[in-house]
Amino acid sequence: MQATHRLDAVFAALADPTRRAIIARLATGQASVMELAEPFAMSQPAISKHLKVLERAGLISRGREAQRRPRRLEAKRLEEADKWLERYRNLWEAHYQRLDTLLEQLKTQEKERKSR
């Protein structure tokens, strides 16, 4: 899949609260479909649909155990989606560190004005 399309799939997959909850659950370790369905008031087929979306986006994969086929998280995909936020954060961190410096100057000026 092309990088752009893959990111589309990742963001579409993450746009749903149930799927985000599944991701959060899998972040603590792999789990079977039944275990994943437990916290939700949802049938196993409904959960399976969500799992398919996550799988297509490459966010999760299936284990080999024949019976349980546990799902597990593919952390690399999530990291890609996070990169933009990371870059945006870096830009604003730079802004706000400059703002810190400015605020220190302003505080000093205020103190001087008051002591006069």
Binding site: L85, N90, Y96
Partner: protein
């Protein structure tokens, strides 16, 4: 001291930024509403300057910001209208880039809460639709910003050193 900046997605069309400052909120508010202060810190990526910083901070008033790259001279401009002005705690404005790559504009809400002389800043960007927010996020990943991590790291190191 380096303070943590958090940026998170909230709901299906908001991005939320929070950061703490070691200053009373009146000063933080001033730094967001007085042009001569704004242009001292809101400089964009390293290597850019802010030649235009016009702000008419009152309900219905407009603002206009332009950044220019020192080498090559490419420009990036944006602006909007102030919707709510409540010194020193709340500022709501619209934001639209000249060359918008996402539909519509965003509605930005700045909230400042002071406790014990320190201020917690929360900046919420609400996009027109979930698709618009995803477009913002994706465009950033595909086009990238011109600043590389290396240059940013240099700037951060320099700014950390100047605070010592």
């Amino acid at each position: 001291m380096k303070r943590a900046l958090t940026i998170t997605k909230r709901g299906d069309r908001d991005l939320v930024m929070t950061r703490e400052f070691d200053a009373p909120r009146k000063l933080v508010y001033d730094a967001h509403t007085k042009p001569d202060l704004v242009r001292q810190w809101l400089l964009g990526p390293p290597g850019w300057t802010m030649p235009v910083c016009d702000m008419d901070v009152r309900v219905g008033g407009t603002y206009r910001w332009v950044w220019r790259k020192e080498t090559g001279g490419s420009e990036m401009g944006m602006g909007g209208v102030y919707r709510e002005v409540k010194a020193p705690e709340r500022l709501v404005s619209t934001e639209r880039f000249d060359e918008a790559w996402y539909p519509g504009e965003s509605l930005n809400t700045l909230v400042l809460i002071e406790q014990g002389g320190r201020t917690t800043l929360t900046q919420t960007m609400r996009y027109e639709s979930p698709a618009a927010r995803e477009a913002v996020i994706k465009s950033g990943m595909e086009k990238g910003v011109e600043a590389s991590y290396d240059r940013l790291a240099e700037l951060l190191a320099a700014s950390a050193a100047s605070q010592r």
